[in-house]
Symmetry: none
Subunit: 277 residues, 2 copies
DNA sequence: TTAATTATTGCATATAAATGCATTTTTGCG
DNA sequence: CGCAAAAATGCATTTATATGCAATAATTAA
C-alpha cells in the first residue's frame, strides 16, 4: 500500500519535473543564451516562428521579435513576416566567371574565327580571351580541340561538333588550368594544326613571357606541338615582360589584338615577320 | 480497463497527429518558405501551375498569384497565364549548373562528410550529388582529390586546402566527364583511401549499374583503386537497374541516402552487408 | 549597502501585412 | 464572337509588427 503510494508519488514528481522544465527551463535565460537557442533552432528547422519561440522560451512575442530584429541586423538571420529564415548564402557561384572587358575581347577573337576550319586539330591554352574565343566558335565547326583549361572545357563541352580532349594533371587553382609533367607529356605527343595561346606579356625583344614557370613550359610544349601558333591579347599587353620566357616573336605565326593591323603600335612586331590580324 | 482505455487514447492521438500533419503540414508556412518551395518546384518541374500550388499549399489561388507576381518582379521566375516558368537565362550560361532537388542532396551528402579526414586520397566520380558534396567539403580539410568531372573540378578548384588532380581524356559532353582508356589508365594507378561514386541505379541483385558502358568501366577502375567505396544517391535510385554492370553490392562499403539507416526500404541492402549511413 | 542609471521586458495601441472572398476585367481558344 | 478559365481589383478580416510607456531586473557609482 505504502509502496504503491510511493510509486505514484515518484511518477507524479517526474511529471511535475517535466512540466516545470518545459515551462520554466528557459525562464532565467540570458539574452545571449536565448539568441544562441534561436540560432540553433534556426539551423535545425531551417526557420523559426515568432509565436513558437515565445511559447518555448516563455516570453512575449515582442521580446522574440526584438531578438529577431537584433539578429537580423547582425546578418545572422533574415527576419520575415511571422518569424525568420536562414540567410541565403550569397551564392558565390564558382561557375560565374567574370570576364573583364568582355566586349573588347569579343572584338579581338572574332577576327581569329577566320583561322578555324573543319577537321583541324587545335590546342587552346587558358585565359579569359581564349574563353571568349571558345564561346564564339561557330556551332557547325567540326574539329578536335585539346585544352587544359577547366572553364574552356566547360564552354566547349556545350559545342555540338567539337571533339574535346581535356589534358589532365594537377590543377593550378586560381587559373583553373592543369600544369606539370603530366600535361607536358600529353601535349608533346599531340600533332596539332593550330594552337591558340593566351599572353600575359609580349615584347619585341623578349617575345612571349609568363608570370609562372610551370605555365611557361606548358606553353612551350604547345608551340612545339603545333604547325601554326596564334596568340590573342589586348594591346595593353604589348611591350611588357614577365620572368619566364615562352618563345621568341619569330615562333609566333599570328598575333591578334583589338588594334587595326596597320596601327603604328604594331610596327615593330610587323617588321619581325609575325602576321597581324 | 483503464490501461486499455489509455492505450486506445494514445493510438487515437497518434492517428490524429498524422492526420493533422498531412493536412496542415504547409499550413503554417512562412511566406519565405513558400517562395522557396515554389522555386524548388519550379526547378524540378520546369514550371508551376497556379491551381496545383494552391492545392498543394492549401491556400487560395489569389495568394499564389501574388507570390508569383512577387517572384516575377524579383526576376526569379516568369509569370505566364496559368502559372509560371523558369526565367530564360540570358546567355545560356554553360557555367550555371542546375541541380535538381538540391536540398535533398545536401541532406544526403552532409551525412557523408564524416567519412572525410585530413590527408586522405580521394577519388570522386561525376554526378550532381557528388557536386553538392564537393560544395560542402569543409574549408579546412586537407586532402588530395582525383576527379574526372569538370563541374566537380571547378567547384574544388575554389577549395583552399585540396590538392586537386584532374584525370584527363576525351570529354563525354553531356555529362561533362572524361572517359576512355586514358582515364582508366590514370585511375588504375591511383592508390586511394576512399572513393565516392554516383549511382544511376542500384539493386540488391544487380548491384550498381550504369546507362553508359564507358562510364561503367571507369567506375570499375575507381573501385579497384580504392580501399573504401562509398556511393551516395537518393532513394528513388533503389531497386532500379541499367544495362551496364559496375559492381556487386558486396563491393560497396557504404551507401548513403536521405533515408534513415533503419528504414525498411534498405533492409535488403543492410542484410547484404553494406554499411548504411 | 544604497541610490541612481541603464537595460530588459510586457502590455496597450496604432499601423502594416497577409490572406481570402466577391466582383470585374482580361485572356486564350474554339 | 462567345465562353470558360485566369487574373486583377477592392474590401473585410485576421494576424504580425512597431512604438510608447510602465514595471521590473541588472549594473554601476557613491
Amino acid at each position: 500500500m505504502i509502496l504503491q503510494f510511493l510509486r505514484l508519488f515518484l511518477i507524479w514528481n517526474e511529471i511535475f519535473d517535466i512540466f516545470v522544465m518545459n515551462f520554466n527551463f528557459y525562464k532565467n535565460m540570458l539574452k545571449a543564451e536565448r539568441h544562441k537557442y534561436i540560432m540553433t533552432k534556426l539551423i535545425e528547422d531551417q526557420k523559426v516562428v515568432t509565436t513558437d519561440l515565445a511559447l518555448a522560451l516563455d516570453l512575449s512575442e515582442d521580446t522574440i521579435r526584438r531578438d529577431l530584429n537584433e539578429l537580423d541586423s547582425k546578418k545572422l538571420l533574415e527576419k520575415v513576416y511571422g518569424g525568420a529564415v536562414q540567410v541565403k548564402e550569397k551564392s558565390s557561384n564558382v561557375f560565374d566567371i567574370a570576364i573583364a572587358a568582355e566586349e573588347q575581347k569579343k572584338q579581338i577573337v572574332t577576327k581569329a574565327l577566320s583561322l578555324l576550319h573543319d577537321d583541324q586539330v587545335i590546342i587552346m591554352s587558358g585565359g579569359s580571351t581564349n574563353l571568349v574565343f571558345a564561346k564564339l566558335i561557330p556551332a557547325d565547326l567540326k574539329a578536335t580541340i585539346y585544352t587544359y583549361s577547366l572553364p574552356i572545357a566547360m564552354q566547349l563541352s556545350q559545342h555540338p561538333n567539337i571533339d574535346l580532349i581535356f589534358i589532365g594533371g594537377k590543377m593550378q587553382k586560381n587559373a583553373m588550368v592543369t600544369i606539370g609533367m603530366d600535361v607536358i607529356q600529353v601535349v608533346s605527343k599531340i600533332k596539332a594544326d593550330i594552337c591558340f595561346i593566351g599572353a600575359s606579356s609580349i615584347s619585341v625583344k623578349q617575345g612571349l613571357t609568363e608570370v609562372g614557370y610551370e605555365i611557361s613550359i606548358v606553353k612551350k610544349a604547345m608551340i612545339e606541338a603545333s604547325d601554326r601558333v596564334v596568340s590573342m591579347f589586348s594591346s595593353d599587353k604589348l611591350n611588357t615582360k614577365m620572368p619566364h620566357s615562352v618563345c621568341d616573336l619569330k615562333q609566333l605565326d599570328t598575333i591578334v589584338t583589338e588594334l587595326d593591323p596597320e596601327d603604328e603600335r604594331l610596327d615593330e612586331y610587323r617588321k619581325s615577320g609575325v602576321f597581324i590580324l
